[in-house]
């Protein structure tokens, strides 16, 4: 009942927009993980099982004095139940894939692994001990030491050598304990600082983390297009992608490929998915450009790269689509030849916010590429800056600032990763 009560609170659907509801859901999910709610819920049936066992034992004890036959039947049933339960626990402990898993089997697995590692540590500690080595050497040297001839010198050597060996062992043990205490104290301080930082961290950063996780969840779990669109739009509107899970890039890419098909070397959007396709393309661009700077060796980057090459080979064109420019920028990142050939920015007049996001992403790419190949910002990035600054009327201040930043990076100005937006 207690578990049910708690889960009801979790299942309760809050009022608000899709974004707010997703944020609340994510917060609750995070709470479940942090407070080990799953262990608590799993321990409740275990308590009932223990209670049942105690009841069986007590009943058997009571009936034994009243009627032995009835008591034997009860003892038999209790024993069968217990044996069955023990078999299940053993199977769950021994085999990872066993479906009859109980919390006990998990606990025993942990205990066994802990015991084996501890046993190994103790064994190695004994092997390294000077005292043990001294005894072993003497036993070997005076073999058979219990014979009348050997026992006296054996004991004499032991008396002479053991105190010294013991003193060495005690010294090492003491030293180890001092170091352990020091490490423990440092660890405790670090933990305390981390907790303090977590508690006092800016709520907006926490919110961004929650948002990114919930977006990832919505895109992976939901089949509803409007939910996808809302989640992607929210992702596209986020100027800060700090602490995001790299798989989000892949999720966005999968969402994009779900909305499109390739027909006669031309990308065609599935009817009704135009907006989702355009926003997901922008999200791919944002996540990839962020990953390039924060974690360029990420396996997700390589996976998306491979998927991109597979789904959209170089002969495929994106013309007549809203995402023409965005996807071609990715193509410039992935194909050296395409980077040289380039594409025309002439018709690029995106909405206000989309332009701002694109400019910020281009700054990240410029910064990353400049670090990768010192002294070179790719031509297509500079062309974006040239095009944006040539627009009439001029774009927003943030776009102008980012375009100037791109130029500054190419001119070799010292631009920190914080300004670029990687931190």
């Amino acid at each position: 009942m207690l578990g049910k009560q708690c889960l009801n609170r979790y299942h309760h659907i809050d009022q608000g927009t899709e974004i707010e509801r997703s944020q609340n859901r994510q917060r609750k999910l995070d709470g479940i993980t942090v407070w080990y709610f799953d262990y608590m819920v799993e321990s409740l049936p275990s308590m009932l099982q223990v209670a049942l066992l105690l009841l069986g034992c007590a009943l058997s004890r009571y009936l034994w004095e009243v009627n032995t036959v009835v008591a034997s039947v009860v003892i038999g049933l209790t024993s069968i139940g217990m044996i069955f339960y023990l078999v299940i626990i053993t199977a769950g402990t021994v085999t990872e894939s066993c479906p009859y898993k109980t919390p006990w089997s998990l606990i025993i697995r942990h205990l066994v692994s802990w015991a084996s590692s501890t046993g190994l540590a103790i064994t190695s500690a004994f092997r390294g001990s000077k005292t043990m080595r001294t005894i072993a050497e003497n036993v070997q040297y005076y073999h058979p030491w219990w014979s009348r001839r050997e026992i006296t010198p054996f004991l004499k050597d032991m008396v002479l050598e053991l105190p010294h060996a013991l003193a060495i062992d005690v010294y090492h043990l003491g030293k180890m304990m001092v170091w352990s205490s020091y490490a423990f104290a440092v660890g405790a301080c670090h933990l305390r600082v981390t907790l303090f930082m977590d508690l006092h961290r800016s709520p907006s950063i926490l919110d961004w983390g929650v948002d990114l996780q919930s977006i990832s969840w919505v895109l992976q779990v939901s089949l509803d297009k409007s939910s996808h669109l809302a989640a992607l739009k929210h992702l596209a509107s986020m100027m800060e992608l700090t602490n995001f899970n790299p798989t989000l890039a892949k999720v966005c890419f999968n969402t994009f490929t779900d909305c499109t098909t390739v027909n006669n070397c031309k990308v065609v959007v599935i009817q009704g998915s135009e907006e989702v396709a355009a926003v997901s393309a922008l999200c791919i661009f944002s996540t990839i450009s962020h990953l390039l700077g924060t974690d360029p060796t990420s396996s997700v980057l390589e996976e998306v790269h491979q998927d991109y090459l597979k789904v959209f080979p170089v002969q495929v064109n994106f013309s007549d689509n809203q995402f023409y420019y965005t996807m071609n920028v990715l193509r410039c990142l992935y194909f050296q030849s395409w980077r040289r050939q380039g594409f025309h920015w002439n018709g690029y007049k995106p909405p206000f916010h989309e332009h701002a996001i694109a400019a910020q992403n281009f700054v990240k790419i410029a910064w990353f590429k400049y670090q990768e190949t010192p002294g070179k910002v790719p031509c297509f990035v500079l062309r974006f800056a040239l095009h944006s600054l040539s627009l009439d009327p001029l774009p927003s201040t943030s776009v102008i600032a980012n375009c100037l930043l791109i130029i500054a990076i190419d001119l070799g100005c010292n631009v920190s990763d914080m300004i670029v937006g990687y931190r």
């Binding site: 920015w345 500079l382 800056a385 040239l386 095009h387 009439d392 001029l394 100037l404 130029i407 001119l411």
Partner: protein, 295 residues
Amino acid sequence: MADAEDYHLIQSKHKAINALLPYAVWQEFGGNPEILDAFLHAARASKMLKFEWHHTREHASTILSKASPHTIVLVSPHIHWGLLTERRDLVQRWAAATSAVPYTEEVAQSVVGTLLQIAYYNRLLPHIPANIWLWLNMQPSLPPICEGRYYGTRLPVAKAVLELKDIEIIKSYFLLVWSEWDHLKDSVFDESCASLHQDFNEAWGGWHRGELIQHLDRILTQLNQGLEHLQQHNPNLEEYHFQRMKDQYRKLKDTLLEVVTGVSCPIIIPHCILTWWTCVGSHTRFMCALPLPCP
């Protein structure tokens, strides 16, 4: 501000500097000329004939539509006019801008540089207003490496100027493009010689001939200082070009002297007076009243 010694660095960064141009133009229009000044300074210091990044011309129309006349004039030499769209409008806008800006040496250099570039293209030539050619008479000193010098020594430009049949403009053109920095194409050299025979053989042309001879003497003196001396200002100069320049300018001087000796003088004047006449003629702007030959 970039220094002249940084030209390799500026050359390697010309794309980024060009990307800054539209914003520099906007800023100048808003009363902040600093970025545009930096751009022009870098363009001059680059020692690059084609400082323009070819993608800039896709936006040239937009950039120039919002620019002030002063900016249009100064930026125009750094735009590749041959491949522009809306050429006619742009040439007219440029021509209007030239008449709206006050004269300075920098402005004259830019106007002449652009004029010679535009005149190179047959499609653009008819759109040049006749009065723009008078800018040649200002005779600004063109830098060793610049668009004006490059296009000015090409045949279409030489033909366009010579067809004007204006001896003053033709002379100014020769004074601009004959230099120690460039040799002439063979076809241009031939056209120049022909023009010297046709246009400068009149007895009234004595002052012009004197000025041209003096200019050629100055060039030959510079060439006699050696290739290394000239390479300090124009690193692209090579031995082959150097030798051709020497030959060409010597021949041009000889041609001029031939023309001089071919012109008859109706009055017998002592040699010392003729020398004085030529010197005065080459340093003043009045027309020679008498058909006097140069000594």
